[in-house]
């Protein structure tokens, strides 16, 4: 019995080491405050709940006009990868109640699960600054892309007639293929999450 203890420590240490080599960008140790809440108030860690799947977190706000105008684009991408990718809507505004979020999701036709990230745990994990920013985690839950959905918005109040680059789509395709996306980080036009601190 006395010998078993150090061996156990050794195993853990080796595991930690190998994870560190494989996933340098991923801090794998989640504490309880690192979780968000689903609309029933239950703590949910979206990165643990879809083993082996690519996970996409989409940061939105009920009163952010830019994230709202993206709703049809977001839904198009969701349906294109249905079954292959786990999508979550993440609401970082503490002031937005579950009722407000339910109403908003119904109005904008969202059918995927929504999370309230009241402690900004997912914001930190995704390095998200803006709504609508997206974070793509590969099957090993490594953050491989965060930033804009596409380049439709060029500035506040200024859009192209249509996007000409599609960073979220590219990042998902890369993650599904086990590759790193060509672009890892982009800036997003939208509402500042830091205004909600």
């Amino acid at each position: 019995m006395r010998r078993a203890h150090p061996r156990l420590i050794l195993i853990v240490a080796a595991l930690a080491l190998s994870l560190a080599i494989l996933f340098p960008a991923y801090s794998w140790c989640l504490s309880s405050s690192d979780t968000a809440l689903d609309l029933s108030g239950k703590a949910v860690d979206p990165l643990k709940s879809a083993a082996g799947k690519v996970v996409v977190l989409i940061f939105v706000r009920t009163d952010c006009p830019i994230s709202n105008r993206y709703a049809p684009t977001i839904q198009r991408i969701i349906s294109a990868y249905e079954g292959k990718v786990a999508f979550w809507l993440v609401y970082p505004d503490r002031a937005e109640t579950t009722d407000m979020i339910r109403k908003h999701d119904a109005e904008y036709g969202y059918k995927i699960s929504a999370l309230r990230d009241t402690e900004h745990a997912l914001v930190r994990k995704s390095q998200a600054k803006i709504t609508p920013e997206v974070a793509v985690f590969d099957a090993s839950k490594r953050l491989v892309y965060h930033g804009r959905i596409d380049n439709w918005y060029v500035d506040f109040g200024r859009t192209r007639s249509a996007a000409t680059t599609h960073e979220l789509d590219d990042a998902i395709q890369a993650a599904l293929g086990g590759r790193l996306p060509p672009v890892r980080v982009t800036d997003t036009i939208g509402c500042y999450i830091s205004d909600l601190e």
């Binding site: 009163d63 952010c64 006009p65 709202n68 105008r69 993206y70 709703a71 049809p72 684009t73 505004d93 002031a95 109005e107 904008y108 036709g109 060029v154 500035d155 506040f156 109040g157 200024r158 859009t159 192209r160 007639s161 249509a162 000409t164 509402c191 500042y192 830091s194 205004d195 909600l196």
Partner: protein, 616 residues
């Protein structure tokens, strides 16, 4: 008796419901400029606080749109509201994207300018740097008091679009037109109009155009359905060019016409609401409402709209970065310039309107260094701008058809020409002016101005049908029949199948005594448009002139069928019947004419004569 009151295509006409606090009677309680001087001068006490430094700017320049029920996507009234968007606000004001205001600051000032000072802009960042403090409640100015519902009180008449428009959740911007049947049974004078766009978040701006001949109705697939399209061409009458801007943009307070001015609304007039909508992310039903406010005082001051334009010069090659279009017109009379409305589509970059005065000095009328279609508006001067006779008013617009223009609707860029679709271009500058008489004895300055303007257009484009037509109508009104006939003939050569031009040419020929040729053109007009009341009426008169009374009776009967309540048609039918001895029926129609209009002297005299002739 000749009716050649014809209607001309004047494009895009409107009266601004933009702001104008100065003339606002009642309605919204707009603040003066609380604390503005504090924050616009040099240093502010640190830390910057919401109550003392930020709230006055928010209340004065932002809350008018950013409150519940208005056009903006979120409310900015309280400390919490502003704090939860603080960095976003700092960013958009720094880039001068908010508050939205296109014209550069210049010598001439516009009513309700929404332009922050550099000092005000930097206050937002300093507030964030200082930790977004709320401050001392004693410093907080009174919150603006917004009126809910109709801003000018209950309108006399409220019209609702018959059918809603279904705006999709996503996709391109949408342009939709709703036709409202003006519910007036006689001439009424419109003092103000409030457009309630339904969910105001969706409508970026809207124009109302007065359609006196119901010319837009044929564009609807079914009555009341409305129709798509970015630009409208509405026909309007030659001597009554719609002279008002009827424009709505988010946050605007209904504009009340100043003393002496009002917009005439006749029976059977349509009001066409042209809207620019942006999908919001969810599907929406849009069913706008318009409230009308009338006055019993008929208009005594008649502003006119002058349209500088050069659409024919718009042929922009793909990739062109600085494509310039100009137009200029020398005023034949003194005018007071009241308002200005620049208009281009997505390739417009730098829009300039300026005046060169007779002494050679120049005056910038408006300069928009970074055009953005989304924030187009009618801009009213704080005071009328006097431009003396001999002043040249000019526009110079620059277009960017390269990939650098992010608003470019074509990827890759393509050759673009003038047109009504969003991906076409336009080069228009509308000026609302009051033409002035230099001396009491002068001719009507409106007519002088219109004539000069029509001639200007013909110089620019000898094949300009409207210009020939307008010029002809003015010459005819002035009694220069031969010149009028020449201009009408040119218009008919350009558009041989235009019923109105044929009818008007016929009218001028008839007035000059050439009833034979007149009859030919009235018949042509009726071949093109068989239910054309004016042409039937004029043909009836021409046949009377050739003593063909049975023929005339047929034409006047058609008139009465088309417009059962037209007193002139009834009177003329009565007269023609009397000429052929059909006294009993003649009497019925003359009496009917007097029922409709007891003041119709000719009908009364004819009836008296008829009674003498009829066996007792």
């Amino acid at each position: 008796m000749i009716r050649s009151s014809r209607t001309l295509p004047f494009c895009l006409v409107a009266l601004s419901l933009v702001t104008a606090a100065s003339s606002g009677s009642g309605g919204i309680a707009r603040l003066g400029a609380p604390h503005r001087s504090d924050s616009s001068i040099g240093k502010t006490e640190r830390p910057v606080t919401f109550d003392r430094d930020i709230a006055p700017i928010i209340f004065h320049d932002c809350a008018n749109c950013h409150h519940a029920g208005e056009a903006s996507p979120f409310t900015l009234l309280t400390y919490d509201d502003v704090k939860s968007h603080a960095r976003q606000i700092a960013a958009v004001v720094r880039k001068r994207q908010m508050p939205p205001w296109l014209p550069e600051d210049g010598e001439l000032k516009f009513a309700d300018e929404l332009r922050l000072t550099d000092r005000q802009i930097s206050l937002f960042q300093e507030w964030i740097d200082d930790g977004e403090k709320e401050g001392n409640a004693a410093d907080l100015p009174a919150r603006p008091n917004f009126v809910e519902g109709w801003r000018l009180g209950k309108p006399e008449v409220v019209m609702t679009a018959e059918k809603p428009y279904l705006l999709p959740a996503g996709g391109d911007d949408n342009y939709w037109n709703f036709i409202f049947r003006a519910p007036v049974d006689r001439v009424r004078w419109l003092k103000a109009m409030e457009i309630r766009a339904g969910d105001k978040k969706l409508i970026h701006h809207a124009n109302v155009q007065v359609d006196r001949t119901q010319s837009a109705r044929h564009l609807e697939k079914e009555p009341g359905a409305g129709f798509g399209g970015m630009e409208l061409e509405i026909e309007s009458e030659s001597f009554d060019p719609d002279s008002h801007f009827l424009f709505w943009k988010p946050g605007s307070v209904p504009y009340v016409e100043p003393d002496g001015m009002a917009l005439r609304l006749d029976k059977d007039t349509d009001l066409v609401l042209n809207t620019h909508m942006q999908p919001s992310g969810k599907a929406e039903k849009v069913q706008p409402t318009i409230g009308l406010y009338f006055t019993d005082v008929p208009a005594s001051v008649f502003p006119m709209l002058l349209q500088l334009e050069n659409d024919r010069a718009l042929d922009i090659r793909a990739g062109a970065k600085d494509f310039v279009v100009t137009d200029d017109f020398t005023l034949p009379v003194d005018v007071d310039l009241l308002a200005i409305y620049p208009h281009a589509h997505y390739l417009g970059k730098d829009l300039l309107g300026y005046a060169t005065l007779p002494d050679g000095s120049t005056k910038t009328l408006i300069h928009i260094p970074q055009w953005d279609l989304n924030w187009q508006a009618v801009f009213r001067y704080t005071a009328p701008v006097r431009l003396p006779k001999g002043t040249s008013v000019a526009m110079k617009y620059t277009y960017d058809n390269s990939e650098d223009n992010i608003a470019n609707p074509n990827h890759p860029p393509q050759r673009v020409m003038a047109g009504n679709r969003a991906r076409d271009e336009m080069a228009h500058l509308w000026l609302q002016v009051i033409p002035l008489k230099a001396a009491e004895s002068d001719a009507d300055p409106r007519k002088t101005l219109l004539e000069a303007f029509a001639r200007h257009r013909i110089v620019k484009n000898p094949a300009d049908f409207e210009a020939h037509y307008n010029l002809a109508a003015m010459l005819q009104a002035r009694g220069q029949l031969d010149e009028a006939i020449a201009e009408y003939s040119r218009a008919v050569e350009l558009h041989p199948n235009d019923a109105t031009a044929n009818n008007s040419l016929g009218g001028a020929l008839l007035a000059s005594g050439n009833s034979g040729e007149a009859i030919t053109h009235f018949h042509l007009a009726l071949t093109i448009r068989p239910d054309y009341f004016d042409a039937h009426y004029n043909l009836g008169n021409a046949l009377v002139a050739t003593n063909d009374f049975p023929g005339a009776i047929g034409q006047f009967r058609a008139c009465v069928r088309l417009r059962p309540d037209d007193a002139d048609a009834e009177a003329n039918l009565g007269g023609a019947l009397a000429e052929t001895g059909q006294y009993a029926e003649a009497k019925t129609h003359l009496e009917r004419a007097l029922d409709i209009n007891p003041n119709l002297t000719l009908a009364r005299e004819n009836l008296e004569q008829l009674k003498q002739l009829m066996p007792r």
